[in-house]
């Protein structure tokens, strides 16, 4: 390129000017997969009304205190989960000069991944069971990992661009809850745990364009010093589980309470700036452009602080009714660059109900006679959208949703272990149609959003 003189090169540059056009992709910023799609097959099948039930490894997320109910030195669950959003967005044509009328949803992101749950009650471990202190503890973890490709996301360039708030979980590297429970008395347990989260930012500390680029330069003269910072932060979980101390009620009634902290993870790019360096004369380069840059777009995965109050009843031994009421503090939601949405989000209450019925099928023939328990599960919850009327300049799209779920479990009495259990669930999120008039938005016209999300999962558990 040394033969190309400077004015000619710059002229070519300007002649190559093209029309700028805004992107029309859908963007999303969504919370933890656990909060959106459930943590554990049994809990998900019961509509996530699990705070007062909390009797498998997913208690690590729903209510750590419940881990103490697992009477096994080793309980391991492995499973697969798939979720497919079918959210539609329609924009009505507009004719104003500056308004954009070509916004349409083009892609739904599916989420598929591996689920793992592990729980251990130290009271059942030979090394600890004689200890007055350690025998009161139980530990558990629940884990979901995206496969095969993860942390794939787009983020909007302007805070006015439309995007759907929920259901793109592909940015989520993994979801993990690790918890410990302590048995205070026979009727009271407490627990605590953490949700590790990852914050990541890229800052370009010295990027510059070299003009003209070398002929064989695969970076076309663009050079960059990149500073990537990733931090692990933890979000606390606390839980309480109470079985009434009266003997007649202890096995029939339970109360649960759990708290999870705000989970606001950042991804993307921090400070970014570019400098231009003209090296027409290799021995006398010239700095011709110095863009001071700024802190640019972040992707925010936001899951609000939440409190859950719950109770569960067993009117008969095989039947469980569970009720959860979760308060989610969405008013703390912030947009990219820590900007509050306009109008701000509002806090929401989510009522959940779940039911489980387990029975011995009494099968007599061959292999089937070892199936010692079948269980049927169902659940429902309604989650109002925290997004208020977005008729102003911002266009965060969301709708109230009704979520129904169901599941099936079969426990096999394996001679070589305690038991083996197969669980399967499905979940359908039905979004109520939401129309946004957008009469105060200078760029976009009326938008409607609705649709559904369906998910299913299957898992195998082994317990000793």
């Amino acid at each position: 390129m040394s033969g190309v003189n400077r004015p000619a090169f710059l002229l070519l540059f300007f002649l190559a000017a093209v029309l700028g056009s805004p992107s029309t992709r859908i963007y999303a910023q969504t919370p933890l997969p656990f909060d959106e799609l459930g943590a554990g097959p049994r809990a998900t099948a019961m509509g996530q009304a699990f705070t007062a039930v909390a009797d498998d490894a997913s208690a690590a997320y729903y209510n750590p205190a419940g881990l103490i109910q697992i009477r096994s030195p080793f309980q391991l669950t492995l499973g697969y989960q798939y979720a497919k959003p079918r959210v539609w967005v329609e924009m009505e044509p507009v004719e104003l000069n500056f308004r954009r009328g070509d916004f349409n949803r083009s892609e739904d992101y599916s989420t598929s991944g591996l689920y793992m749950g592990y729980a251990c009650n130290l009271a059942d471990v030979s090394f600890f069971k004689d200890s007055a202190v350690f025998s009161r503890f139980a530990v558990g973890l629940t884990f979901f990992a995206n496969i095969p490709e993860l942390t794939q996301f787009w983020n909007p360039q302007w805070d006015t661009e439309p995007y759907v708030l929920r259901y793109n979980e592909r940015w989520s590297l993994f979801a993990l809850a690790v918890s410990v429970a302590f048995r205070c008395t026979d009727w009271l347990s407490v627990g605590a745990g953490i949700l590790p989260r990852v914050d990541s930012l890229q800052t370009s500390t010295g990027s510059w364009i070299q003009l003209p680029p070398e002929e064989d330069d695969s970076a076309v003269g663009f050079r960059m010093d990149l500073r990537q910072t990733t931090e692990v932060n933890v979000v606390p979980i606390f839980g309480l589980l109470v079985h009434p101390p009266q003997a007649s009620l202890r096995d029939r009634l339970s109360f649960g309470f759990s708290y999870r902290g705000e989970n606001s993870a950042f991804y993307g790019t921090g400070m970014q700036s570019t400098k231009g360096l003209w090296v027409g004369d290799p021995e006398n380069p010239v700095m011709f452009f110095d863009d001071p840059g700024g802190r640019v777009v972040d992707h925010v995965g936001f899951s609000p602080e939440q409190l859950t109050f719950a109770f569960a009843v067993k009117p008969v031994q095989a039947l469980i009714f569970a009720f959860d009421f979760t308060w989610k503090r969405y008013s703390a939601f912030t947009f990219f660059w820590d900007v509050h949405p306009e109008p701000p989000f509002e806090d929401v209450w989510v009522p959940r109900v779940g039911i489980a019925y387990a029975f011995d099928p009494g099968l007599e023939a061959g292999f089937l006679k070892k199936i010692c328990e079948l269980s049927l599960l169902a659940g429902y919850y309604r989650e109002p959208s925290p997004v208020q009327d977005m008729s102003g300049r911002m266009n965060i799209l969301d709708a109230d949703q009704n979520v129904v779920s169901g599941g099936f479990g079969a426990k096999y009495d394996a001679e070589w272990t305690g038991y083996v259990k197969l669980d399967a669930f499905f979940q359908a999120h039905l979004l109520e149609s939401n129309h946004i008039s957008n009469d105060r938005d200078p760029l976009y016209g009326p938008i409607s959003v609705g649709g559904q999300v369906w998910a299913f999962g299957i898992s195998l558990s082994i317990a000793y």
């Binding site: 302007w158 700095m287 070589w416």
Partner: protein
Amino acid sequence: MGVRDFAVYRVLKDLPMRFKAIRVLLLPLAVLCAFGRASAQTGMFFDEFGAGFKSASMGQAFTAVADDHSAAYYNPAGLTQTEKIFEFTAGYIYAKPRLRADYPENPSLNLSDQASSHGLYLGIASNLDFSETIRVYPWFRRFAFGFILWANLPEFGQYHSGPTAIKPHFLRHDMSFQALSISISAAVEITRWLSVGGGVIPSVTSAAEEDVFQAVNKINEDDPVRGLRLSIHQTATVFVVPILGILIRPPVEGVRDRVAVGVCFRGENEQNHGKGVIRQDIGTEDEYGEPLPVALPYPDHYNINLVSYIPWQLTGGVSAKPFEGLTLAYDMTFKRYSEYRTYLELPPDPPFQDTYTHRFGVEYAFDPGFTSGFARRIRRIGLRGGYYYEPTPVQQWEPSEQEPNNNIYGSDQDVFSAGLSLILGQEKGEHEFEMYFRYHHFRGLSRYAYFDSVYAFMSGLEEPGYKRVDISGYVWAIGGSYTLRF
């Protein structure tokens, strides 16, 4: 608004008058950007600093020893030697590189200040002797499992990437880009004298594709992003690197417990981090944030990545116990560094060369026979030592007419290590406390580096060309751990 209103146009127009002032103002920043910190592209933490406290103390000559959880990395077949159903280790490791590159002709320049690494270490191993399972399926006794993990604390994944291989940087010992190092393995005992094992090292590779629009008329306005509109498409993919191992104890009574031979293969682990394709336009936008039709597009370019590269490697090891309590170990590792690729998938020029690493380790463990107080609980004391020599894969070159494409710095290293182990408890269960120290000594090396016109400018050098560079330094690391076995 026209082309003449662009800030970039105005800067270009005024260039002859501004040049000297701009250069004076930007030079300190430019030097800081180019040399304030050492850029590095290094391998996995386990490969550089060891995986496990016993193995790191013994100079990583562990392929034929492999008798704790770290066998998950060094030789999965060794997991069958795990004696307990549950072995859990938690520890802490700190490593501080002190590498330097000095330029005798330009004393104001140097390359130093590599990031330290510190983090948590976890190890789990089990002989899987679940009594219920073995009662029904006796063959299950033959299996074993192991897992090790190292996680940077409190901040990880922090790195500076080099734009090209021509930017001076050290090859090794900056681990701050590493999120996690994990090995998960299983083993099966084929016969009493032969075990085989396999495992995986999960790894992540990622790139961020960018669409950038710089609205130059918003740079000086009250815009939180100074007119920079950025859309990122971040993709991270998990892949796994295989580990395979064999452990042989001679099927001769009297020798079986005294000699072991191990072979281990680990696959190539190449990770990319940073930027992929970048599209960058410069223009203006209207009051609503709408880009105006005129823009200055820059050609799409595939941009800078950080490459973390560990070559595939084959290790043969032998260990001997001449008498009770004493273990001697020797490993020889072949590392296929000639496959090494630097940024933008380019092989360095001259290419790296394959290396052979020789490792020696020794452990002497004994019952101290303490009889009083707390000391009598100490059932066993282990003293460990190790040494290895690892030649650098970087070939050196002399100045020539042809401009080289890399300034990757490396030199041969001698690594010394030592460790101490205390085991408390009884047959039912035991507690072990371990600590170790390592010292990597880099043999001094004097060579040439080539500064192209850009780096010469950014470094404040008078002119591009060959510059002599002296490379030296050391790295030290310490660690401590607690292990519970029952």
